[in-house]
Amino acid sequence: MFHWTPDRSAFPTAGPDGKFDFDSHKLVKIWHGPNHPGVTGNMSLELTISGDEVLESKTHVGYLHRGFEKLYERRTWIQCFPTVVRMCVPESDSNEYNLSAGIEELAGIEIPEMAKWLRTLVLEMSRLQALLRIVPAQGGTVGLGLGVQWGVYLRDLILDRFEELTGGRIYHMYMIPGGVRGLLPDGFKERLEENLILVDEFVLSIKRLMLDNAVFKKRTVGIAHIPVEWIDKYGIVGFVARGAGVKKDVRLDYPYLAYDQLDFDPAISTDSDIYARTWIRWNDIITTVDLLRQIMAKMPKKGEFKAPTPNVLHWQVPKGEVYVRSESSRGEYGFYIVSDGSKYPRRINLRGPSYTHAVSLLEKMLVNSNISDIAATMVSLQTCPPEIER
């Protein structure tokens, strides 16, 4: 088979101790981002390269820093909801769920059965729309742009369902402490089912287009490998851990909402390269579609959807602290909430999966990789800068 390796003899070489002299002014430094089509969102990598190989990478974040955690010092608990969804743009519902679950746990509120199912439905729909955008985007990073066109179109159909249910396309603010804001509109299930049939077709076509594609395989198999020992060392969660053979899924490990009544088994692989992580997320689409069907079948028809809460205008959430977590499409998504018993939260801290994936893990993974693989590596970790910097 045709195989070509570039002539690397003229590149700067390491010193006798095997290390490069980074102060020698002989190595090229390039900035990958923030204005670069190949980075996920608004972040940048400072790369020191020799030829086309990366010797050192530093992640720079903070381009999206809005200081949410500071702003919550000035907002009452209920006023946090419009802003908390904006902490992670591609998948906003995990934020609202975590904050309401945390408040409910601190205040000792039990939410009604119907609200549980509705929340589960919204979380799964949100996961589906995030995956529909990111799985084909993995093909986009190696030059296969067609899948993105299909995926984003389908995602838009799911966003239409969101709009019907909650009134917003991207930001929903549907879950509030005590439950949710409303019931399903008439005919919602049928319309969602129509969309899911399209997603079923899409899943098959993306397999033919991307996963079985020789070029795609060539560019992704064996690239950006994560050894299994790194899982704890770097705090890896979610599908990245599942790609390395460790089954981590908050929905299974710490069942919340109605997940203990649902039957699912997330995919797992041991290859731990870009291809494996794409394959796992492709499988996640199938799991999610299946879950959505299960939810719609098992869900009660009507019922109370909101438990009574104190007057939210001056609600003093009892003193205490709690860590709540849920599974987003990127992995474990946690909120650490501290209340001092006043009208305002004391501290709301978000720990998203990208916090380690995009900073310490990515810096380590990119060393000795090729520049052309960087975009694929970043998308395969599904890094999302807003949740790093809040």
Partner: protein, 233 residues
């Protein structure tokens, strides 16, 4: 392995201006092979420091009209997602809303594009990059600002790290209101922008050149870590 360096770094004084100056931008005294020494200032010597000049419209009215029509038909957007609004660019550029119908397409580099979409809140760190990208674009260039964040700060009006009004830092041609604006609103914004260009009102680049000092003063007031030449060609 350290080799003999042919330059000496001049430590800057401790004035307010130099507080955040990066070491690679310090002035240095270089010894040339012939023994002469001279001073190199990396921030000014490597860049053209001519200010931008306003362009007068073509004197023949018909030609100017034709040019404006042509400009309005090829809006090339710089793919720089600065805030949450950038998530709506995906549907906009894909079959559902398909902005290509209107001659709008995305370009990866500032040199090829003439429309900058500021898609939401701008933190100070991004503002610096946004200005840099804006100045690198070729005239005539236009700015479209999305969302309430660019108008008056939106829901981050009291945040310490996001700007409140974009029009103090770069000239804005069209605002699209909403939080976040829907793709339909963006399409309406493109139509409005085209109308303005055809009427000859898309004069953002000239406005920037005329009020250059005012814009620079505003920018420098909040970007303390400047570390770039005053005008980025």
């Amino acid at each position: 392995m350290a080799e003999e360096k042919n330059y000496k770094i001049i430590q800057p004084d401790n004035s307010e201006e130099n507080k955040f100056l990066k070491p690679e931008n310090y002035k240095r005294e270089v010894t040339a092979p012939d023994g002469n020494t001279f001073i190199v200032d990396p921030l000014n010597d490597y860049f053209c420091d001519a200010k931008p000049q306003p362009h007068a419209p073509n004197t023949i009215k018909v030609v100017e009209k034709f040019l404006n029509w042509a400009r309005s038909q090829s809006i090339w957007v710089l793919g720089f997602g600065t805030g949450c609004g950038s998530i709506e660019i995906y549907p906009l550029m894909t079959p559902r809303f398909d902005a290509y119908r209107f001659g709008v397409q995305q370009r990866p580099t500032p040199r090829q594009s003439n429309l900058m979409i500021i898609s939401g809140y701008l933190s100070v760190k991004t503002l610096k990059r946004a200005i840099r990208s804006y100045e690198q674009m070729q005239s005539p260039k236009f700015v479209m600002a999305l969302g309430s964040c660019t108008i008056n700060g939106g829901m981050y009006w009291d945040s310490y790290n996001t700007i409140n009004r974009l029009d103090h830092y770069m000239p804005v041609d069209v605002y699209v209101a909403g939080c976040m604006p829907r793709p339909e609103a963006l399409l309406a914004g493109f139509m409005e922008l085209k109308k303005r260009i055809r009427e000859g009102k898309g004069e953002g680049a000239n406005q920037y050149a005329e009020n250059f000092d005012w814009y620079k003063a505003n920018q420098k007031k909040i970007i303390k870590d400047w570390n770039m030449p005053d005008y980025n060609w």
